[in-house]
């Protein structure tokens, strides 16, 4: 669209046009969020809860004070990274649902730094590198199956998620197990932990790692040749191939970059979240990080900057969801229902158009009724 506006168009109009087209995605995301919250409210009514009370508790818990903001941001940190995993592959024209399993493997790899004694901050860096390599290695399986055998990545990544789940169960129970407390792994040594950023909350310096990764991905995708190739292959594979872009190379790169992000997400959870700094048996802290990331990616319109904002929203849903469960008695799982509806709504491409059609058909209906009444 913006290419059409060149030459004689006055600068002011160009600016207005660009702002409007730039804003459209944000408005659609807000609309989807509203639809999700409304359908969530209807379900709460059906199940006998007070949705008003629930949402007041949720939003007060999430954004009511600095503690809420810090908790929301902390819950959003790993989601930034798993959302990037999904987005990079969407930009490359694929649906990578494998972040979930890569988070598990990344977290398990990060825990292994507990066995090393390294000077100072080196421990932290080694832990991050281990986690990222772990995540990337786990993403290689589906990538290779896709490139060599043409296996649909949706199916293969889900299978790899299940395999990762049981592999991590095994590692937690037998390999990385804490010799004193069998229900968790050994703890990350103090030297390898992200320092807490806001005292008394879960928010640690890991947020800077996540944001830095988002910026790197933004730079790679929009300011390098290979990133351009990834996006071109995603937009129009045949045109990209005609232009000499090797689609196998871009797919592999997208999978690996995604795996690095998901592995890092696993690291931020075990190295940045007080008080355990270990994987607990059954993986309660890790579960759904990858799946929630997909919702964040869609609401963030698969753009690193959008994703950072969307992660604050979904982190807020999780953090505020705890307050909602505590004060309004609505189970935390309600949040995931809302998430699902938001994603469903995001799937409709001409969302705003659908709303417009609904509004116009509503007004037509009202006009017909009015006419009938007057007749």
């Amino acid at each position: 669209m913006s290419q059409e506006l060149t030459g004689s168009v006055p600068r002011k109009e160009k600016f207005v046009h660009r702002t409007l087209t730039g804003l459209n995605p944000a408005i659609e995301s807000l609309l989807a969020a509203a639809v999700g919250l409304i359908i969530g409210a209807i379900l709460m009514l059906v199940w006998g809860y007070n949705p008003w009370k629930a949402y007041v508790a949720l939003f007060q818990g999430a954004y009511g004070d600095s503690y809420g903001w810090a908790s929301s941001a902390a819950s959003g940190v790993p989601l930034i990274l798993t959302a990037l995993t999904f987005s990079i592959c969407v930009r490359a024209g694929m649906f990578n649902i494998g972040a979930e399993g890569q988070v598990y493997i990344g977290a398990a790899a990060a825990v292994t730094v507990g066995y090393f004694v390294l000077p100072g901050g080196l421990n932290l860096i080694v832990g991050l590198i281990f986690a990222m390599i772990g995540g990337a290695l786990w993403s290689l399986g589906p990538a290779i199956l896709k490139l060599t055998r043409g296996v649909n990545e949706v199916i293969s990544t889900i299978m790899f998620n299940w395999i990762a789940r049981f592999l991590t169960f095994y590692l937690v129970a037998f390999v990385l197990v804490d010799p004193v407390r069998g229900e968790k792994t050994i703890s990350i040594p103090v030297s390898a932990r992200f320092p807490v950023l806001v005292r008394g909350t879960d928010l640690s310096w890991s947020i800077f790692a996540a944001v830095a990764f988002a910026i790197v991905i933004y730079f790679v995708l929009w300011h390098t040749v290979i990133g351009y190739e990834v996006r071109a292959a995603g937009l129009n594979p045949s045109a990209a191939r005609y232009g000499g872009i090797k689609s196998k190379r871009t797919m592999l790169l997208a999978f690996i970059l995604g795996g690095l992000g998901a592995g890092l997400a696993g690291a931020t959870i075990v190295m940045g979240n007080p008080p355990t700094y270990a994987i607990i048996s059954g993986l309660p802290q890790l579960m759904n990080t990858g799946f929630d990331g997909m919702a964040v990616a869609m609401v963030g319109r698969n753009h690193p900057i959008g994703i950072i904002f969307a992660s604050l929203f979904f982190g807020g849903l999780t953090a505020g969801g705890r307050t909602m469960q505590f004060t309004a008695g609505v189970p935390l799982e309600m949040v995931r229902v809302v998430e699902g509806v938001i994603v469903l709504t995001m799937a409709i491409p001409e969302l705003i158009r659908v709303f417009r059609v609904m509004r116009s058909s509503w007004s037509t209906l009202m006009n017909v009724l009015k006419r009938r009444r007057s007749a």
């Binding site: 055998r149 037998f174 189970p331 799937a347």
Partner: protein
Amino acid sequence: MNWSFLTDLLRISLHAMVPITLTAVGEIVGETAGLFNIGLEGIILVSALAGALGAEMGGPIVGLLAGMLAGALISLTFSVINTYWKGDQMITGIGINLFAAGFVAFGLIKLGSPGFYAVARTAQIAKLRTPIGALSPLIFVALVVPFIVYWFLKRTRAGLILKAAGENPEAADVAGINVNLVRLLATTFGGVLAGLGGAYMSIAWFGSVTKDISAGRGFIALATVVFSGLNPLLALLGGFIFGFFQSLATWIKTLPSKPIPWQFVEMLPYIVTLLVVAGAIGRVRFPKELGKPYKRE
């Protein structure tokens, strides 16, 4: 040597086959018409809960109907978004799966038993006595349905219309076929079969509902569809292969010597699925317009 474990393996394989085969056969109908539904996992999950609640209210038959109704409603949502509203099928499917995971976990908490909800014995479907042990009657349904669907797809005019909607929607449209309606009906039928599979799991097989009762079966069914190349009879075979490896895993876990840690045994069905799909690709051809919304020029 005691050979009774062979009949045990066969019996468990047949039971594990049912949800995969039913879901895969339903998805074959949907994919033939051009819609790719990755929300099957969520459909199985929700219909397992719906089936359990229906069965406790009105008996096993009501339970099965409730499961099928839940499957139909979710696929109807899916197909309205992806036919008339030109939605993205992948994203819709992901949304359904997220929604289902939250909805079922929420529902189980609301029922007062988070994690594990046992279905009352009287609400469960009674098993039939056979020479190889007690078998659920739905096994026979799963054995027959693929043949009926095969006949429908290959031998009837309606089956041809379905294929036209998936292969060449423009031509179908010109021939006076309502492409979107055909796709909607096909996918809804797929949802009904997945819903039957889900309800079977809770009220005929496990006798309980957990928040991850589907355990990837929706995706394994999708893999089975790939393996089958849209042939319902091969989906029956694929379902049985998966069922066999699941029963093998169950059997290995019960061995007193514990040769392999249970976590590795549990991986078996997923690894086999990967291998089967990797081996099946190449010889399989899918409808040309699969996964794309039909837009009139």
